[in-house]
């Protein structure tokens, strides 16, 4: 059988490429990368940021709506304003910036060696370059799920856009993608684009949502749909794309409890534009190539409490780790990753020798639990998201079949990423029980 050329770049063997040494190399210059880089720099590390675009800021550059900074700055900012605060801070430091630079691969050398450094190979219009660092922070963000991934049948005309692409056309390129739009998916980007289109004179026929509830934040449903009279159709999805050259219409159908289209409920909605806001996927092709193990639930890396992946010295944060709903949360998480990466690189961190080895698994209606591993007996921030909305449920922490903790009964929504502080004493209790696994369970209360 013929041998195939691998797409992976053999980074180690090239000698002609110039190399620059750092303590921490951060991949991605969006909100996650900037926060991680600043935190690592503050901890005394020599830091580099590698960014594909010509500018720092990532996707925030096109998020011109307000709603950013409420928790981090106690002030409502637009995306570009929020980003600019961090861009200014980065510029005020000696953090090295490699803009317009695409990372081709991360080579981690021999993982067993204490002095192991990671080599990041990147290219830009200036040529190829290698950065070395004892620590690497993955902060590449996510991409939008496409029409193909959700398998919408029909033809393949122009006019079917992911919501983020339409946002780029409108907010960055000053171009109008069409006149009459249907939006599939009530995620936050879909809701924000419904308002944005309306403001730009694009008539929005409606937002259609497969689930029986809105997927975005409550405030966005109100501010973006209700205030502009855009109808939200729940338990309804697009079942056919119609039009040969440019989109002419979509067929929508109601769905049953198993989310299958109900025959006979089809309606044809004339439109020239279909925007898809049907989920985000962490962009981990680079991580996988570097040997990082992913959690099939988050599609991000499996990390420990310091946000370190299974490859020593490689950390992950922001939307490449798990999809967040607020940029402020990305910032907070990424500051932790940056500080931990610096501590690892400089050898100042605790936990060089793990205290323990516990895995964390979700149960009940919890869709995932992060971190997936705990290696230190210390207060640990657990993140999770529920799979469906409930009015009354409680968080329970279990180990070896024993309930170690039960939270207050309260409502939970899939649109909100939850954060739960796991006390050190609960981890200690789990270890005392001889458990190797902690279960984070979110259990609905039936009679409540």
């Amino acid at each position: 059988m013929a041998e195939f050329k691998s797409n992976a770049i053999d980074c180690g063997v090239v000698e002609a490429v110039q190399t620059r040494a750092f303590d921490v190399a951060v991949i991605g210059g969006g909100p996650a990368g900037m926060a991680a880089a600043l935190a690592a720099h503050k901890a005394g590390a020599r830091v580099a940021i590698v960014e594909r675009e010509q500018h720092l800021g990532g996707i925030l550059r096109q998020c011109i709506h307000p709603g950013f900074g409420l928790s981090h700055f106690k002030q409502e900012l637009t995306g570009p304003e929020y980003a600019q605060r961090f861009i200014d801070k980065v510029h005020a430091t000696d953090i090295a910036l490699f803009l317009n630079s695409m990372v081709l691969g991360i080579d981690s050398g021999e993982p067993a060696e204490d002095t192991a450094v990671h080599t990041v190979t990147l290219m830009s219009p200036a040529g190829m370059l290698q950065l070395t660092g004892r620590a690497v922070v993955l902060a590449m963000g996510c991409r939008e799920r496409t029409r193909s991934e959700i398998k919408i049948p029909g033809s393949r005309p122009a006019g079917v856009f992911t919501a983020g692409l339409a946002q780029r056309y409108i907010n960055i390129e000053n171009l109008k993608p069409g006149s009459r739009a249907v939006i599939l998916g009530s995620g936050d980007i879909g809701l924000i684009m419904a308002r944005r289109c309306t403001l730009e004179g694009i008539s929005v026929e409606g937002v259609y949502e497969l689930m029986p509830y809105a997927n975005g934040l409550r405030r966005n449903v109100k501010n973006c749909l209700d205030d502009f009279g855009v109808p939200l159709h729940l338990s309804t999805t697009v079942t056919r794309v119609i039009g040969h050259d440019r989109l002419e219409a979509v067929e929508v159908s109601q769905v049953d409890e198993r989310l299958a289209p109900i025959p006979g409920t089809e309606r044809i909605i004339p439109c020239d534009t279909l925007l898809l806001s049907v989920g985000l996927i962490p962009e981990n092709e680079l991580s996988v190539a570097a040997g990082v193990e992913l959690d099939p639930r988050t599609r991000g890396a499996v990390v420990d409490q310091s946000l370190q992946t299974g490859v020593p010295g490689i950390f992950a944060c922001g939307n490449v780790l798990h999809v967040h709903d607020l940029a402020d949360n990305v910032t907070t998480e990424s500051e932790r990753a940056g500080a931990a990466a610096a501590a690892y690189a400089l050898g100042t961190g605790a936990g060089a020798v793990p205290d323990c080895e516990l895995t964390v698994s979700p149960a009940g209606i919890a869709g995932y639990a992060l971190p997936g591993r705990i290696t230190a007996v210390a207060l640990t921030k657990l993140n999770f998201r529920v799979r469906r909305p409930v009015d009354a449920a409680r968080v329970r922490i279990l180990a070896g079949g024993v309930e170690l903790f039960a939270g207050k009964v309260r409502p939970f929504k899939p649109s909100v990423m939850e954060s739960f502080p796991l006390p050190a004493k609960v981890i200690k209790q789990a270890l005392d029980l001889g458990a190797s696994k902690i279960v984070l369970s979110v259990d609905p209360i039936e009679e409540a």
Binding site: F4, A126, S148, E149, K151, I170, E173, D245
Partner: protein, 484 residues
């Protein structure tokens, strides 16, 4: 405006382009007339890219004569024309004794059709050849000559080579009428198209699904075409490219096949259902049938990672399952390559070779040119280039270091080269077919607006005039209100 040529070929699909390439070595003027605005926009872009070995066609048919020969020629064609071709071999998997009997039959067909080195193998060998093949398979027809190509790349490379040797390409030139003068005339055929009229002495019909219309317009054979539609699914790249795995075929099709591609993706191809002519819609039932069928062959296939689903129609002549390659029995000087359904891609080089032979036999004088160049230099593919070549390219022009498509690592310079090639890309999809920008997992979510900017700049038009594919497929309406 009327231009006169020795030969006009109607249709720039893989068949027409291969014939143009074959005939460009002779001292004849050639024009390829295409209804669409680019190469390979019909059945040639909507297939699995498999170069079938040739055990499938019934011995004695035209298909049987050109399939194995086409498969054989691909090695030379790939070298000369600089396109990617992986000859991996393939297996038809059998799961029981009845299947085994079918495999024996296929092997006998293959033997008669000239397929080399086939053998029937058992479970151990199956898993040695393709570890991901179903463990339930008890036997397989192992066929080392099978391979796969990127079908657009083959058509594009063949036409680029023909053009480099002097052929002309007319795009957006739907043939609306054909006038046939009395025989003896030096240029007896006149094709009327919106892009101008074309007169020619010999007419070659390679119009794919439009072949019946062309034949009818010329007053020749009345073919009835059937639109045997197929859905196809492309999955994301795998660490190791899969060998083509086939089920035991049905009477109408080869069944749902799983195969790797030259770029490391996995393709599941294809369903077969007679539908309305022109229907290129995908159907939920077809896509589900593909995913189910694929799981039978490769149980661990991650079918969530769909990059693209698409559909096309196989040009099938009603009443025969065979190709028609020959001079019209009614209109001398008209040569037809009609009904080129599956295995059209696999057969293309041999169809071209056979067309040359048919024309010679019909008395067409073919004199080889002294300056014919069989080589088409393969354009630089940045993603596949070794690191040293990447550096060289960036040094030659910084635009080689400006990545536009992140999923497939396509820099701006490669996109510009795709637009400037002869014939070059004139649409976003045309760019994609030439250099893969936008073909990856994000399906141009990140790069489409940049592609529009580059195309508008290179073609000297407004972004609102940039097309996704053919006429009418505009991507943006124009500037926003208040922004001029």
């Amino acid at each position: 405006m009327t231009e006169t040529f020795d030969i006009a070929i109607v249709g720039a699909g893989i068949t027409g382009c291969a014939i143009a390439r074959q005939l460009a070595r002779f001292d004849l003027s050639i024009c390829v007339v295409e209804a669409a605005n680019d190469i390979a926009l019909g059945a040639s872009k909507a297939n699995g890219g498999l170069v079938h070995a040739g055990y499938d066609p019934t011995p004695g048919t035209v298909k049987a004569q050109v399939n194995a020969r086409g498969c054989e020629l691909y090695g030379t064609w790939a070298q000369e024309l600089g396109f990617l071709f992986c000859r991996t071999g393939s297996m038809v998997l059998g799961f029981n004794d009845e299947d085994r009997a079918h495999l024996e039959q296929l092997r006998r067909n293959g033997y008669v059709n000239g397929v080399p080195e086939q053998s029937i193998v058992g479970p151990d060998r199956i898993h040695e050849l393709e570890p991901r093949a179903s463990a339930d398979a008890t036997c397989a027809l192992w066929c080392p000559s099978t391979g796969f190509v990127d079908p657009f790349e083959v058509a594009i490379a063949a036409l680029e080579n023909a053009i480099a040797n002097g052929a002309t390409f007319m795009r957006s030139a739907t043939v609306e009428a054909i006038e046939v003068a009395s025989s003896g005339d030096d240029a007896r055929f006149t094709l009327a198209t919106p892009a101008g009229n074309v007169r020619c002495r010999y007419l070659i019909n390679a119009a794919g699904n439009g072949a019946a219309d062309i034949s009818h317009m010329a007053g020749a054979e009345e073919f009835q075409m059937v639109w045997r539609q197929g859905n196809i699914v492309v999955l994301d790249k795998e660490p190791r490219t899969l060998m083509p795995l086939y089920p035991v075929p049905t009477p109408v099709s080869k069944g749902v096949i799983v195969t790797g591609t030259v770029h490391g993706n996995t393709v599941i191809t294809a369903t077969a259902a007679v539908r309305e002519p022109g229907d290129t819609q995908t159907y939920a039932s077809d896509v589900n049938a593909l995913l189910t069928g694929a799981h039978k062959l490769v149980p661990d296939l991650d079918t969530r990672r769909v990059v693209r689903a698409f559909a096309g129609g196989r040009p099938v002549i009603q009443g025969t399952n065979d190709f028609f390659i020959g001079q019209s029995a009614v209109v001398p000087g008209l040569f037809q390559a009609a009904g080129i359904q599956s295995p059209g891609v696999a057969s293309a080089p041999a169809i071209a070779e056979r067309m040359e032979l048919v024309m010679r036999e019909a008395g067409v004088e073919l004199h080889e040119r002294a300056d014919w160049n069989p080589i088409r230099r393969e354009p630089d593919d940045f993603d596949r280039a070794p690191l040293a070549r990447k550096e060289e390219l960036i040094e030659s022009d910084p635009a080689w270091g400006q990545i536009v498509c992140r999923c497939e690592t396509v820099p701006e310079a490669e996109i510009v080269a795709a637009i400037r090639r002869q014939p070059g890309a004139v649409s976003v999809e045309g760019v994609k077919r030439r250099c893969r920008a936008g073909m990856g997992r994000c399906q141009s979510g990140f790069c489409q607006s940049r592609l529009v900017t580059i195309l508008a700049r290179e073609l000297g038009c407004d972004p609102s005039e940039v097309l996704l594919e053919d006429a009418g497929s505009w991507l943006v309406e124009g500037p926003l209100k208040g922004v001029r």
